[in-house]
């Protein structure tokens, strides 16, 4: 009898293929850049020139590299914050709002709470204030989820808009610098509240905060009882319930930690860069953080590298705006495409393509 059916089918691998999980992300990113190039072409630009200008802008000069590190800082901190929550399948997309709250609380500490203290007091005070502010903004949706079962995706997002309006109100109203001639913004922070810079660049202490936070988080997630609980809860509510894990408490703690890390990013922006609270504090770091976290597969150490990579895209986008007067929105567009291709590519690490109708499986993109 003839072979009955022929064709292709996807077959689930028992475990993700090792080789594929290294190769596939690289191929995905390259394909994403090609797809982005097509869109750039459609908008009437030469994609090769655009990409070259972006890389030149971000990595071609000392100041460019410094600027890339400057943007790495908030992406790293918010990426870590978002990743902690994602580990538990808590879809915190409120990193932006939590960042704003951290910035607001830190501003209060710098301008009103501890404005006459020395740097050794004021900086820690800002850090604590930012952690508290961000944690608070994470705890609201966390508590709603833990106690009332309210979907955290939507509440965290709504709180972003609310936080931004709150900041707008502060810089237009009660905290407005009277000497600012109508420009919305708070007065400048006292010198003691400025985070120290690296040399003459704008790179500041916030980067160190981020790297230290990444290492602590890695240890916490991999080596502690608490990290184990988060992994189990992230994989299966039912198993966590079966083991009697304190789910509600952990949701609260994770959302607080997630918000606190994003809040720290807000502090580092106002104390390290702007030295005041102003409008449009963040160009959407809290959203880009989602991509950072996912691309790094929620691994804190990986997030350091990915944050840097996406900072290159961001800085490159800004440079385009200046050099070629192209919209900086090219950066978020490229980030979206990269995430699509990584998501699609991930399938190839979990499945393999098998030909039906022959006895030998034909393997594509997968090893072992």
């Amino acid at each position: 009898m003839a072979s009955p059916t022929t064709g292709w089918k996807l077959e689930r691998l028992p475990a993700p293929s090792q080789r594929a999980s290294i190769i596939v992300p690289f191929v995905s990113i390259i394909l994403a850049l090609v797809a982005g190039g097509v869109l750039i072409l459609a908008a009437g630009q030469n994609p090769i020139a655009v990409y070259r200008a972006m890389i030149d802008g971000a990595l071609g000069s000392k100041s460019g590299i410094a600027e890339t590190f400057v943007k790495t800082t908030p992406l790293l901190l918010t990426g870590l914050g978002v990743a902690v929550a994602f580990r538990m399948k808590l879809w915190n997309i409120g990193g932006e709002g939590q960042l704003y709250l951290g910035a607001i609380f830190a501003t209060w500490a710098a301008l009103y709470g501890f404005n006459s203290a020395s740097g050794w007091v004021i900086v820690p005070a800002m850090v604590v204030a930012a952690l508290v502010g961000g944690a608070l903004w994470g705890l609201i949706p966390g508590a709603l989820r833990a106690y009332l079962g309210v979907n955290e995706t939507i509440t965290t997002l709504m709180l972003n808009y609310i936080a931004i309006q709150l900041a707008e109100w502060l810089v237009h109203g009660p905290w407005k610098d009277p000497a600012s001639f109508g420009f919305p913004g708070t007065p400048q922070f006292p010198d003691a509240a400025w985070l120290p810079n690296y040399g003459t660049t704008r790179v500041h202490l916030g980067l160190i905060f981020g790297i230290v936070a990444a290492i602590i988080l890695w240890v916490m997630l991999r080596r502690t009882r608490w990290g184990y609980e988060i992994s189990v809860m992230g994989e299966s509510d039912r198993v966590a319930h079966y083991a009697g894990m304190p789910t509600k408490r952990t949701i609260l703690l994770v959302m607080a930690l997630s918000g606190a890390l994003c809040g720290l990013a807000g502090m580092s922006e106002v104390a390290g860069i702007g030295h005041q609270l102003q409008r449009n504090l963040s160009p959407g770091y809290g959203y880009t953080a989602i991509i950072v976290a996912w691309v790094a597969r929620l691994n804190p150490i990986g997030i350091i590298g990915v944050a840097f990579g996406l900072a290159v895209v961001l800085v490159g986008g800004d440079q385009l705006q200046m050099a070629m007067s192209l919209p900086a929105a090219i950066a978020p567009m490229l980030q979206g495409i990269i995430l699509f291709f990584l998501l699609g590519g991930e399938l190839l690490t979990r499945y393999r393509l098998v030909r039906i109708g022959s006895d030998v499986p034909v393997t594509e993109g997968a090893g072992d």
């Binding site: 009955p4 059916t5 691998l13 475990a15 080596r223 609980e229 994989e235 299966s236 198993v239 009697g244």
Partner: protein
């Protein structure tokens, strides 16, 4: 007979038009009529596992053909190929003499193949008639179930499968839902009916009635395939029997030519201990009864839908005793296990472990109080499939020394503990780093059992401990539970398999609608009597409750 036939045809004309190959089964089978089903040289693999290895299976019109084999023998895969759910890697499917290449279930449906799955393929919020309408092609665009309701009622009367066609499916009992499945297939013009372990969820009386329905369908010319591992039922109802083992056909026979013993040998490939083959005689070495370890007093709880599921259950289990809980699925068994183990709040009553009140305690407190829990759905509740063996091994003890060192986890202790569990239950695995999802059902269950029994529990709540597990692992699991009994643990064994309950229990309590309708000693228990209790028969309940 003819009006019924005509009606079913009228109800699904396209199915019939599309399938000239299917002659109505009411035609008298003639010697030269091609077989209803001929699955020839079928192979199918899932990743590294070969589920079907050059399998040939032939069933005729007008016969009940049993397909037997232990879990994982490849029966379900073979039937899924017949149903168009899977495509074979190689081999040929011939239905009534015509070669078929099914690309999807609709292709199989259109040539008259109907499956009654173990997990019913019904949409619960829909009514019976709406579920039937789902499978009808070329009806009007608006939902109009009047005709279907009328026809279903008529069909139900004809085949003794009465059910209210306007009732939402979620309101029906398990037995009624099964009737809906069968009625739907008949309505849609199925001529070949495949029953996958259909009696597993029924009371003995319901099973008898289903077997009678199967016989009468065969008598009318339908081809009936009966997948089962209940050898007594197979020997009673079948015309022919095909036995599968490890993805291959290990024999074909008739009830006249064989008996339990040789069937079991064909299934397993070796002689089984007398008691596995014939559970009634499984040994119950006398164990001195210990003190009452598990005591339930007037226990009440609500089910998933917020309605009462347990309505005052009072039970006592002594050390060294196995109390079996029998009942049709959905009569409170799940809730009973969950309330005792702290997974579901009790709305009333009391749970005491060795006299200590643990009503509504957290699951961890209950576990630390000495209660082991082998849950109903191991891979959804008791194990994390995406995590490795060691991460699953420490689920109960990750906060205890030496596995925990302060807030940190001790990798060395975790490895040692995992290896200990693997050795204790002889879990077959490439290593403790393997993901649990990649293990066979039996090995998953052994790992879970090893973990739950590691702390020498006082009370064991075991729910369907051998469901979906091969015979070897099943024997090992039964032996473990027997060892625990000898050690003095109190075991509550919840199962829908009467054979398993009779084999392992000292006493059997029957749950019906959240109440205990009777408690009988397992030794010499009468199946008919248990069946009546499971069906909530008032006279029986009155006499023994």
């Amino acid at each position: 007979m003819m009006p019924i036939q005509g009606m079913a045809d009228a109800a699904a004309p396209p199915a019939m038009e599309a399938t000239p190959a299917v002659t109505p089964p009411s035609d008298t089978p003639t010697p030269d009529r091609p077989p209803a089903i001929a699955l020839l040289d079928i192979s199918k693999r899932f990743g590294p596992t070969v589920a079907n290895d050059h399998v040939t299976f032939v069933a005729k019109w007008g016969e009940v053909h049993a397909l037997v084999g232990e879990n994982g023998a490849g029966k379900s895969t073979l039937m899924s190929i017949l149903a168009g759910l899977y495509r074979p890697d190689s081999g040929t499917v011939v239905i009534d003499g015509t070669e078929q290449r099914f690309r999807a279930p609709r292709d199989a449906i259109s040539v008259g193949i109907g499956m009654v799955y173990q997990h019913f393929m019904l949409v619960e919020p829909f009514t019976v008639a709406e579920n039937v309408l789902l499978g009808v092609r070329n009806s009007s665009h608006l939902i109009n179930t009047k005709d279907i309701e009328r026809d279903l009622t008529a069909l139900g009367e004809r085949y003794q499968l009465q059910v209210d066609p306007t009732a939402p499916v979620w309101q029906l009992s398990v037995g009624e839902q099964q009737r809906v499945e069968i009625l739907r297939l008949l309505y849609l013009g199925a001529r070949i009916l495949v029953f996958d372990e259909p009696t597993a969820v029924l009371t003995p009386q319901e099973s008898d009635s289903l077997l009678a329905t199967m016989r009468s369908l065969a008598a009318e010319g339908f081809c009936v395939v009966f997948i089962s591992h209940k050898l007594d039922e197979v020997l009673t109802v079948s015309d022919r029997i095909t036995v599968m083992r490890r993805g291959r056909v290990s024999g074909e026979t008739t009830p006249a030519e064989t008996d339990r013993r040789s069937l079991a040998r064909m299934m397993v490939g070796r002689d089984l201990a007398e008691y596995v083959e014939h559970p009634d005689v499984e040994p119950h070495p006398p164990v001195a009864l210990g003190p009452v370890r598990l005591q339930l007093t007037d226990l009440r709880a609500n089910g998933e839908n917020g309605l009462p599921a347990l309505n005052g259950v009072s039970l006592e289990v002594h050390g060294g005793e196995v109390l079996g809980i029998a009942g049709v699925a959905g009569n409170g068994q799940r809730e009973l296990a969950e309330v005792i183990t702290g997974l579901r709040p009790a709305s009333g009553g009391r749970v005491a472990i060795e006299g200590k009140d643990l009503t509504n305690a957290n699951a961890r407190t209950v576990a630390r109080g000495g209660v082991a829990h082998i849950p109903e759905d191991r891979l959804a509740t008791g194990l994390v499939g995406a995590m490795d063996l060691s991460e699953n091994a420490i689920l109960r003890d990750y906060e205890e020394s030496p596995i925990a060192r302060g807030s940190f986890l001790n990798a060395g202790a975790i490895a040692a503990f995992t290896d200990l569990l693997i050795r204790k239950q002889d879990v077959k695995t490439p290593g403790r780093w393997a993901r649990v999802r990649t293990l066979s059902g039996g090995n998953q269950q052994k790992l879970l059992l090893a973990r739950e029994l590691a702390g020498d529990p006082k009370v064991i709540i075991a729910v369907h401990p051998t469901r979906g597990v091969d015979v070897g692992a099943s024997e090992a699991i039964h032996q473990s539970l027997r060892d625990q009994r000898a050690r003095g643990a109190a075991t509550l064994l919840i199962s829908e398999d009467l054979d398993e309950l009779l084999a392992l229990s000292d006493r059997i309590a029957v749950l019906y609608e959240g109440r205990v309708t009777g408690i009988v000693p397992a030794a010499g228990a009468d199946r008919e009597h248990l069946g009546l209790l499971m069906a909530g028969d008032e006279a029986q309940v009155g006499a023994h409750g």
